[in-house]
């Protein structure tokens, strides 16, 4: 069964939203999605929800969240897979509709990273093996620093090259009212910003945000503006971080596999030409370079040149993250779903000041866990 996205809602993501409770934050995104989809709460047959419990310290967070999702009396299924939570929600909603189990499913992701008072890294450390990995790991920052170290060693990439990614991201974020960080930065700002975990500096890394996102998937869109799911794929990875790069000798193996599968499902032979815009889950600048290559946007070691050429800009020939991406906005449980929502808005032509001209096909990615990846390709036609 073909599946379309007909409504997207997201909060204006900020560093802290002390004015609302978690259910109230969720409700903001849900109301916007319902209104965008032009349906009432009764039009939703099932809800998939997700966030990461240790970031807010709330076990079974789906159960309190019903006050915001509107899940009382409905089927509500919680999917929580770390950084991929949002993209996993989109995929779960897709399969629940594609199966014919439900006609219309709403995916709702949220995170209030300010609830752990800036100590998101503490929660992320606990994602890894309690005996072998937690003593050394410094959350996503150091995990990605290991990737950056390998990438830098392989291609002799300079910090200035990686910095271009966030410089462009901030330019785009300034056009996006939902974005968290919108202040322009320069290459000099980035390379002079405080060192977090070498070679990653403060401005190389995504922020921690409070925010929620809701997306409505249906098999029966009627005359609504729709973005159709054309390629849905996910590839997982090993238990221990020390095994992740084994064999493939890099950290982008699962993204390559997931993208190849999504391209195959979407019937694409030349994704670089056939995809009009990419919403990539880039938690840090270095990862964006590595993963643009995994997606086939350029050859190995060519990503810095791709950014420097302007090709990834809003008016370039392969725009990456017109929304500003994860580097500007990161409410973790929502982040992957925001990628899907932004890609859908591009296809539906309603992305406002960040709209890319003439989008027929958009790709959203999700990253999480032990370097696993998810991809969803959306098109204007089924």
């Amino acid at each position: 069964m073909n599946v379309a996205i007909i409504g997207c809602g997201q909060t204006n993501h900020r560093s802290r939203r002390l004015d609302v409770s978690a259910p109230e934050l969720i409700d903001e995104a849900v109301q916007l999605a319902l209104s965008d989809a032009r349906i009432g709460p009764d039009g939703i047959d099932a809800i998939v929800v997700g966030n990461m419990e240790h970031f807010e310290g709330i076990h079974l967070s789906d159960l309190w969240a019903v006050e915001g999702t509107g899940g009382v009396g409905k089927p509500q299924i919680k999917v929580a897979t770390g950084g991929t939570t949002g993209s996993s929600l989109a995929q779960a909603a897709y399969y629940l509709v594609a199966s014919g189990f439900y006609r219309t499913v709403m995916a709702v992701g949220w995170e209030r990273l300010s609830d752990s008072e800036g100590e998101t890294t503490t929660g992320i450390v606990t994602a890894f093996d309690p005996i072998y990995e937690r003593p050394t790991l410094a959350g996503a920052v150091s995990g990605l620093a290991i990737l950056a170290c390998q990438y830098q060693a392989k291609f002799k990439t300079r910090a200035e090259d990686a910095a271009l990614v966030v410089v462009q991201a901030r330019e785009n974020a300034a056009r996006n009212p939902h974005a968290h960080l919108t202040k322009p930065v320069t290459v000099a700002d980035v390379v002079k910003s405080p060192l977090l975990s070498s070679p990653i500096r403060y401005l190389d890394m995504c922020p921690t945000s409070d925010g929620a996102c809701a997306v409505v998937f249906t098999s029966d869109p009627g005359d609504r503006k729709s973005a159709w799911a054309r390629g849905v794929a996910s590839r997982h990875n090993h238990t221990y971080l020390g095994d992740v790069a084994e064999g493939s000798a890099d950290f982008k193996h699962t993204l390559k596999l997931a993208a190849a599968e999504a391209y195959r499902l979407a019937g694409m032979s030349n994704p670089r030409k056939e995809i009009d815009v990419v919403e990539m889950y880039e938690p840090c600048t270095w990862a964006a370079l590595d993963w643009a290559e995994a997606l086939g946007l350029c050859g190995p070691g060519e990503a810095a040149g791709l950014w420097a050429s302007g090709a990834t800009r809003l008016d370039g020939d392969i725009p990456v993250n017109p929304s500003g991406g994860v580097l500007c906005t990161n409410p973790i449980g929502a982040t992957g779903l925001v990628r899907v929502a932004e890609a859908a808005m591009q296809v539906r032509g309603i992305a406002g000041a960040r709209q890319v001209d003439g989008v027929e096909t958009a790709m959203a990615t999700g990253f999480g866990g032990s370097f696993w990846n998810e991809v969803m390709i959306l098109g204007a036609k089924p």
């Binding site: 890294t121 005996i131 790991l137 150091s142 975990s197 020390g242 095994d243 790069a245």
Partner: protein, 150 residues
């Protein structure tokens, strides 16, 4: 009212993480100053720490072997930012370096501390060796760090 009402708490949850049989063997090995790996003869794969499931065929790793306490540094980082350690609830001492080390004769990498604190003195491909504590208790901390051999 100056700031919206919020409820604060610092819950502390205690766990007894089972090391499992393979992990228990590894920790006991560290106590004896030895690095133990599991081996799948079919694939073949030799992996540290030892574990029940092979990363290639996902079948049972039948064999436990000792590997030399030396290897190659394949990636590293200097952690320089402050954060709360979930184990202690207080800030983890920084800065520190850790890296991914491929032990000789193994197919994967093992993540652990490096003695070097200056990342400019480290390079990918460098030879390193494991340094053990003199007093050992059969726990991960028996392994002090890796130090550069060159």
């Amino acid at each position: 009212m100056s700031e919206p009402i919020a409820v604060r708490a610092t819950p502390e949850l205690h766990f007894r993480y089972a090391a499992g049989r393979y992990g228990s063997l590894f920790l006991r090995g560290l106590g004896e100053g030895r690095i133990l790996a599991s081996r799948c003869a079919r694939c073949p794969r030799t992996l540290v720490p030892p574990r029940v499931a092979c990363t290639h065929c996902f079948g049972k790793m039948e064999e436990i072997v000792e590997v030399p306490p030396r290897g190659t540094l394949l990636a590293f980082t200097l952690v320089a930012f402050p954060f709360l350690d979930p184990f202690t609830g207080v800030q983890r001492p920084i800065p520190y370096c850790y890296g991914m080390v491929q032990f000789e004769g193994t197919d994967n990498t093992f993540q652990y501390f490096l003695s070097e604190k200056d990342p400019s003195k480290l390079r990918v491909g460098q030879r390193v060796e494991a340094v053990f504590n003199e007093v050992r208790k059969g726990e991960l901390g028996d392994l002090l760090h890796f130090r550069a051999l060159e």
